[in-house]
């Protein structure tokens, strides 16, 4: 199986889906001539032409709305945001239009559209460029929210998102673009709404997604040396949430940590904890512990930034806490 970067896996998914379906087009800032701010769309303009790889002005609300309008009459747009931070300017269109038009028209309006781009903190990009918004979008009925953690999932989930008949908020990890992994060639579609156990274990479940998956796996490696067996559940999709896979793991381990790159208050982790306590209360041997970014805007200073971020050490400490080993 070929080894690809996360970036090239996404590129492959876009290329294959655009070749497969003439109604699919890519629109956003710098997707064409510039080859993508993060080079996810490299080569697509040359392959598919300017009608299908469309550079826009820096007007997130406007081009998100243009994509939604095109989806209302049956096209299948992929709208790239240079980052999800900038998509805040488009949130009216995503929430008030994309998420609701099918419902408020009584089912008459189609909405097959993907909004995609990088989320989360990179390195020293400071407060306005280092944010996670999956909990905000996942709060909205009508949207689906997907966050792949590996190159294989990046390809398979993007292909699924483009084929999905509903609006999909697709969040890529800015720090994941360069990671490498084996990626199946051709028809590799990962279903939306299905979590995956990335590592099996017996003592503690770590629920994670996106960037925290790699951290959780590293923590699990370290803890294995201390004879602590950790199961790592990668949600992959935030909405619809695969509660069954989480519960199955908790029923086995009886202890859980939720590791989330975003903020603590009303984060996705709070939802995960609620699903566990309401459906598997008697299975728990300890309260579930959440690991999140510090509850502050991201600072620029590298030491402060490091202190704000989720780390392998903080996840490992949380695992020990639910085992009462701290």
């Amino acid at each position: 199986m070929p080894t690809l970067t996360y970036r090239d896996a996404l590129n492959q998914a876009l290329r294959e889906e655009m070749a497969r379906d003439a109604d699919v087009f890519l629109m956003g800032e710098e997707v064409g001539v510039y080859q993508g701010a993060y080079k996810v769309s490299r080569g697509l303009l040359e392959e598919f032409g300017p009608n299908r790889v469309v550079d826009t002005p820096i007007t997130e609300l406007g081009f998100a709305g243009v994509g939604i309008g095109a989806a209302m009459v049956g096209l299948k747009p992929v709208i790239e945001f240079m980052t999800w931070n900038f998509a805040l300017l488009a949130i009216d269109q995503i929430v008030n239009s994309a998420a609701k038009l099918r419902y408020m028209s009584g089912g008459q309006v189609p909405m097959q559209i993907v909004f995609r781009g990088p989320c989360g903190a990179a390195l020293q990009l400071a407060a306005q460029h280092s944010q996670n918004f999956e909990s905000m979008y996942a709060n909205i009925p009508g949207l689906k929210v997907v966050i792949p953690a590996t190159p294989a999932d990046a390809k398979g989930l993007l292909k699924a998102a483009i084929r999905d008949p509903d609006p999909v908020v697709f969040m890529e990890g800015e720090m994941l673009y360069n990671i490498k992994g084996e990626v199946p060639e051709g028809e590799h579609v990962v279903p939306i709404g299905v979590a995956e156990v990335k590592r099996a274990g017996d003592h503690v479940t770590i629920v994670c997604w996106g960037k925290t998956v790699a951290l959780a796996l590293k923590a699990a490696d370290q803890l294995a040396a201390e004879e602590i067996s950790v199961e790592v559940v990668d949600l992959r999709t935030i909405r619809p949430l695969d509660v069954a896979t989480v519960l199955a793991s908790v029923r086995k381990t009886h202890r859980a940590v939720v590791a989330e790159e975003g903020w603590y208050f009303a984060g996705v982790g709070a939802q995960v904890v609620d699903e566990i306590q309401s459906q598997a209360f008697d299975e728990l041997d300890a309260p579930v512990v959440r690991v999140t970014s510090a509850d502050v805007p991201m600072p620029y200073n590298k030491h402060l930034e490091k202190a704000a971020k989720v780390s392998v050490e903080r996840i490992a400490a949380a695992v020990k806490k639910v085992l009462y080993l701290d």
Binding site: A64, G65, V66, G69, V73, L101, Y103, M104, G106, G142
Partner: protein, 336 residues
């Protein structure tokens, strides 16, 4: 002789068409009066924005479209929906929140839809639907088709970023879009000159390399003529137009707003009422000898009956089934 007969025939056809437009305006007027009554009786809930006074805009512009063109509008869209041909029954039933409504009772007054007629919504966020219409124009061009996408909005929306972002893209990409600004002088209760630095709205088009016209929205003939020119520009090879159609709302912003009071005087409203689009068109048809008292009385009686029928239909229609609460949030799964 043959030419003369053909000429007379065409005149008859035109006369019929002109009377039909009068009937459409009258239908909207009577429908809105009935909706106001029904609101007062508690049959209609939520917000309800009536179109009385602006009828010539919807009827005149929609008269120039093809059935496969796309339309979006604001939350003051009962008139546009009726002019496009959604039945009075389906619109009234939607206002009543009934299962037989054009959006199955899930949209209400502000969210009327009929995709089969290309009527793609009543939208509730000021300016929010302008990019959507631009996207429909993009899709038309993407498919190399020759439809047009038109969008109605009030003059308050032209200060909104959504308008400028969308108009700019329509200008860059030469999309087949017609942006119809219904300038009724007030954004809710804020007068145009209190909200807009330059009052000549149509001039905004020049920022986006777009054709523009200022139109008397009380004169159906002028509205039709300007719309005809805009549609010609929008069909292949496409280019967009901003039509500023000046009109006036004879009623309050919504059912909770009195006709006059804080932001406009009784005298102002009465002065504008003298240019009622229905009376002006009625006068014109009579001057051309294609309308008489008997025809008008018959038409009015028919329209009243149609509106009463719509009211009765809506009143007697069932509410949506409780299970409808959870349908249409997402697309039905392939197995369903």
């Amino acid at each position: 002789m043959a030419t003369a007969r053909a000429g007379r025939k065409a005149d008859t056809k035109t006369a019929e068409k002109y009377r039909h437009y009068l009937r459409q305006m009258l239908l909207i007027r009577r429908f809105e009066e009935k909706a106001g009554e029904a609101y007062s009786l508690g049959k209609i809930g939520g917000f309800c924005h009536l179109y009385i006074g602006q009828e010539a805009v919807a009827v005149g512009t929609i008269s120039q479209l093809r059935p496969d063109d796309y339309i979006t509008a604001t939350y003051r869209e009962h008139g546009h929906a009726l002019a496009r041909g959604i039945s009075a029954r389906a619109v009234m039933a939607e206002l009543f929140g009934k299962a037989t409504g054009c959006s199955k009772g899930k949209g209400g007054s502000m969210h009327l839809f009929d995709a089969s007629l290309g009527f793609l919504g009543g939208h509730g966020i000021v300016g929010g639907h302008i990019p959507l219409t631009t996207g429909m124009g993009f899709a038309i061009k993407y498919r190399n088709a020759d439809q047009v996408a038109i969008c109605y909005f009030g003059e308050a929306a032209i200060n909104n970023g959504a308008f400028h972002e969308a108009a700019n893209m329509a200008g860059i990409w030469k999309l087949p879009c017609i942006f119809i600004c219904e300038n009724n002088r007030y954004g809710m209760g804020t007068a145009l000159d209190r909200a807009t630095a330059t009052w000549n709205i149509s001039e905004r088009a020049s920022s986006y390399d777009m054709a523009r016209e200022v139109v008397d929205g009380q004169d159906l003939g002028e509205v039709m003529a300007a719309m005809d020119r805009a549609v010609v520009r929008a069909r292949r090879p496409a280019s967009p137009t901003l039509l500023e159609i000046r009109t006036y709302r004879f009623v309050g912003h919504s059912m909770s707003d009195p006709i006059h009071g804080h932001y406009r005087t009784k005298e102002e409203v009465e002065a504008h009422r003298k240019r009622d689009p229905i009376s002006l068109w009625d006068d014109k048809l009579r001057a051309e000898n294609i309308l008489d008292d008997a025809t008008m009385e018959k038409m009015d009686a028919e329209v009243k009956a149609e509106v009463q029928d719509a009211y009765d239909f809506a009143d007697q229609s069932p509410d949506p089934e409780p299970a409808e609460l959870y349908t249409d949030v997402y697309a039905p799964r392939a197995s369903e």
